[in-house]
């Protein structure tokens, strides 16, 4: 499926805009049978804001004598990694051959991991400084806005991106719309590289996501405006009516009938056809169970429940359904649906065999997701769930990559994958450890030992503390 999505997106790039009736590539309204009417079905460009990201220049690099967590649960002590042409070229033990005349770093006492991937961020659409003029994360004017795209709000100059890189070792992240709406809009996956444009950050070929939200936020926002939904049952009613409409829209397209282009329905049809992944903000166990039934009612799949504070109560169901949970280690008490948080949520979900992800939803905490994972792991250990360092790293890179549909390209240190790599100055599950070097597609984008490898956004240029260690 991942490849298929990538393929269709790439095909779309090469096509002209709306109105083209070419017979290949786009599937939105193309069927095997000719349209019933004489009117030719309209095809819409699915990738009108294409990624312009290109890997930055890197050199062939090796790190030796380093402890490696490969991101898929493997560990190599006294390991060697070789990065070349933007890719992981080789990962192995001390006898791994490396070419002569390349940059070689000694990793003694250090650890090397895949870059952290934060599946839940609002960097860029709620950037720093968080002034009203920058409040671009919630189109809170209608409870369903699947037509909005978070990439159209992302401010690439948000200083938070560089903090996540330098302090957090984050190499890719998903930027989601907020949770005011039941259907908040499309999310976008970015490479964590500075850029003049958001297109220059877009992860090439990553599928789009649809942000949905359960529970308190939508009903509070719209109930507060005296309109539907004002209750949880209202949340479901609005969702179901919208999905029903989307199903009809999709059927019309599938049948090859002409449709008036509807950007909202286009996103939802993309979900129903499996091209767009659902990321559903949902705290309570009972609500997650209802959402699962709603997804079956309309024939879509939830990729990930975000925040999932009560995932531990239904970890068996989440395992059976193959749905990921993106969680905090210990956030609680800020609202009613976050009241039943437990410190062991993450390890309990892991123990049930369900897909486990540590996420931030926070411009500060994105800078230490490794520490959040460490706390969760320790909490698990105290109740007899012993998760090794290398297995716990799956919560930070490979599992979020899977949930985002990019695990075939990043998220683990396997030959041929993107060289998105962090060298830590100690064990990354220690409070005393920080990233020393971060490579993205093999390019050295951060080096703690080189102030010139520390990005400074336009906003920070000429301000107090420009280029500081932060």
């Amino acid at each position: 499926m991942i490849r298929g999505v990538k393929g269709s997106l790439l095909a779309a790039v090469s096509l002209a805009l709306v109105g083209c009736a070419a017979s290949n590539g786009e599937t939105a309204s193309a069927g095997d049978k000719p349209a019933a009417s004489a009117e030719k079905p309209v095809k819409f460009n699915k990738d009108p804001y294409p990624s312009t990201y290109k890997p930055y220049a890197g050199q062939v690099t090796a790190v030796r004598n380093v402890t490696i967590f490969d991101g898929e649960g493997g560990r190599i002590d006294n390991g060697t990694v070789l990065l070349a042409n933007g890719k992981v070229e080789a990962v192995g033990g001390p006898d791994t051959p490396i070419p002569a005349d390349i940059a070689v770093y000694d990793g003694t006492g250090k650890f090397l991991t895949p870059g952290i991937i934060d599946i839940h961020s609002h960097l860029g659409d709620y950037p720093s400084p968080s002034v009203d003029a920058h409040s671009d994360g919630n189109e809170a004017t209608s409870p369903t806005t699947p037509e909005v795209w978070s990439e159209h709000s992302v401010w690439p100059q948000d200083p938070g991106f560089s903090r996540a890189l330098a302090n957090g070792g984050v190499t890719a992240l998903q930027i989601l719309p907020g949770s005011a709406n039941l259907m908040g809009g499309r999310s976008i996956t970015l490479k964590n590289v500075p850029s003049r444009t958001v297109q220059g950050m877009k992860f090439p070929g990553a599928p789009y996501g649809l942000k949905m939200a359960c529970g308190e936020n939508p009903k509070r926002v719209y109930g507060g405006k005296g309109r539907m939904p004002s209750t949880r049952m209202g949340n479901f009613a609005v969702n179901r009516a919208t999905w029903q409409k989307a199903a009809a829209y999709k059927k019309k397209m599938d049948d090859g009938k002409a449709v008036d282009r509807d950007l909202a329905m286009e996103t939802l049809a993309g979900v129903l056809s499996g091209e767009i992944l659902v990321h559903n903000h949902c705290y309570r166990a009972d609500e997650m169970a209802l959402v699962i039934d709603m997804s079956k009612e309309f024939g879509y799949k939830v990729s990930t429940f975000h925040h999932a504070v009560e995932a531990y109560k239904i970890a068996d169901i989440l395992q059976k359904e193959g749905i990921c949970s993106a969680m905090w280690a210990d956030w609680w008490g800020f609202k009613m649906e976050a009241y039943d948080s437990v410190n062991e949520n993450i390890p309990l979900v892991y123990k049930a065999g369900a897909c486990t992800i540590v996420h931030s939803d926070d411009a500060n905490q994105i800078q230490r997701l490794n520490q959040e994972a460490a706390k969760a792991r320790a909490a698990g250990r105290r109740i007899g769930i012993d998760v090794s360092d290398e297995l716990a790293w799956t919560w930070l890179s490979y599992n979020p990559a899977k949930a985002l549909g990019i695990a075939d390209r990043t998220g683990s240190l396997k030959p041929g994958k993107m060289a998105d790599v962090v060298l830590w100055n100690g064990n990354p599950f220690s409070a005393y450890t920080r990233p020393e070097k971060v490579w993205i597609d093999g390019a050295l984008m951060f080096d703690a030992n080189d102030p010139k490898r520390r990005p400074v956004s336009d906003f920070e240029l000429g301000q107090p503390g420009e280029g500081d260690v932060k």
Binding site: E216, D330, G333, V342, I383, S430
Partner: protein
């Protein structure tokens, strides 16, 4: 659940737990005053207070002996700036007593009767090693937020260690929004309210003469008089470097003010001025984003640079969650240790970092002699940890507050145990406890 809580509350009222005399031996003993840990140390608590701590301390006859088996033993963490006890669920307004947005009173507000020692945040924070907290009200519509307290997090009904331990006021953008829209208005309103309080103190009849034009209520004036004469420390939220300098100048008009600066995001830019003024600061040290134009210079090295300049730096957990996650104090302090290994960054040694979450905040609020360290005479607030307390995921295995052994079980633990296996058994989960 509710009934259980009520029953246990009743039990506590009926039979208050007595302070135990206890000696913890074979400890990696952290005094909390910035000195290095002592291997093989002993701490003796009698009558609720530390009587001796160090190496080669004898255990008096008849005192219970607890073997720490070489683990870390420290004073309890002092949450440097918090709202613990003032809220259960932030978004459930009935449980949230942080601020009084529609009150006609300001400086006179006293949080003591709003504190709820039975709230689950008290137990959760205690289980993470926090035994005392400096609790401040939150600013709302008025410039002065009111009087905070120093509290303990013990499992009993008496939470207040020192009432009216501080007055809280926010300057900067927050203050200017309350004062009328500019920093000029903030400084003028501050000055005029204090002058009004002083006039009232000299002649209480003036307040009546002012009638409806009075700038402050009698209770507010009473509280501000204690700020003017330095009886009550004034905690000032301030972030921008220029604002910090101007707040320090308030002592030109009111020389007895006992200032404590909170936030101080750009403090490193004026570290020498703060040090020269001998004003302590409370920082949330991982604040490193220019979240506002008064925090442009934000950096995690702020705490370390201030400390290096000679400023008394306490580490707190705010600008994040200031009521539920006080246990982050140890993680934040650990990060300061980590910063010492980052080229160009400033942090703290382990010993300094631990002191910044124990004795230093106690000193900031004028209570260094009674809480925050294991020096003789301090409250018997002692924690045994399962590992290095500044390291991630370390937890207390035993806690004493005022010499009384504390429960470490929380409502969260009960939920966790109920769902250790999520599937329902012969009966629904509701029967499982």
């Amino acid at each position: 659940m509710i009934r259980v809580l009520l029953l246990s509350a009743a039990a506590i009222i009926a039979v208050p737990a007595a302070a135990q005399d206890v000696a913890i031996v074979n400890a990696k003993l952290v005094i909390g005053d910035g000195s290095a840990p002592i291997d093989g140390g002993t701490v003796v608590v009698r009558g609720g207070k530390v009587v001796a701590a160090g190496a080669g301390v004898a255990v008096p006859a008849g005192v219970e002996r607890v073997d720490a088996q070489g683990r870390y033993v420290t004073p309890g963490i002092v949450a440097a700036f918090s709202r613990v006890g003032l809220t259960e669920v932030d978004a459930v307004t009935g449980t949230n007593d942080r601020s009084a947005a529609r009150s006609r009173f300001s400086a006179g507000l006293d949080i003591a009767p709003a504190l709820n020692p039975m709230g689950s945040p008290v137990a959760v924070n205690r289980a993470s090693g926090v035994t005392r907290a400096i609790v401040a009200p939150q600013s709302s519509s008025n410039l002065f937020a009111g009087q905070g307290a120093v509290v303990d997090l013990a499992d009993d009904m008496d939470m207040v260690t020192r009432p009216r331990a501080l007055q809280y006021v926010a300057f900067g953008e927050d203050g200017s929004a309350k004062a009328g829209g500019s920093r000029a208005a903030t400084f003028l309103l501050f000055r005029e309210q204090l002058l009004a309080a002083r006039s009232y103190a000299r002649n209480p009849a003036t307040l009546a003469e002012w009638g409806n034009d009075a700038m402050i209520q009698r209770a507010d004036a009473d509280a501000l008089v204690r700020v003017i004469d330095g009886t009550t420390p004034l905690f000032v939220r301030v972030d921008r470097a220029a604002d910090i300098v101007n707040v320090l100048k308030l002592r030109q008009d009111f020389p007895a003010l006992k200032l404590v600066l909170v936030g101080v995001t750009e403090g490193w830019l004026v570290a020498r001025e703060i040090a020269a003024a001998k004003v302590p600061v409370l920082v949330s040290p991982l604040t490193d984003l220019p979240s506002s134009f008064e925090q442009l210079g934000a950096t995690q090295s702020n705490a370390g640079r201030l400390k290096a300049a000679g400023v008394d730096v306490s580490v707190g957990v705010f600008d994040d969650d200031d009521a539920h996650k006080m246990g982050y104090a140890t993680q934040y302090a650990g990060n300061l240790v980590g910063l010492t290994r980052v080229p160009g960054a400033s942090g703290m040694t382990w010993d300094q970092a631990f002191a910044s979450i124990s004795s230093v905040p106690a000193r900031a609020v004028g209570m260094e002699g009674s809480i925050g360290s294991l020096r003789p005479g301090r409250a018997g607030d002692v924690v045994i940890w399962d590992n290095d307390p500044l390291e991630l995921g370390s937890r207390p295995t035993s806690i004493w507050i005022d010499g009384k052994a504390q429960s470490l079980t929380t409502r969260q633990d009960r939920l966790r145990d109920r769902y250790a296996t999520p599937q329902e058994g012969a009966l629904p989960k509701a029967y499982d406890r």
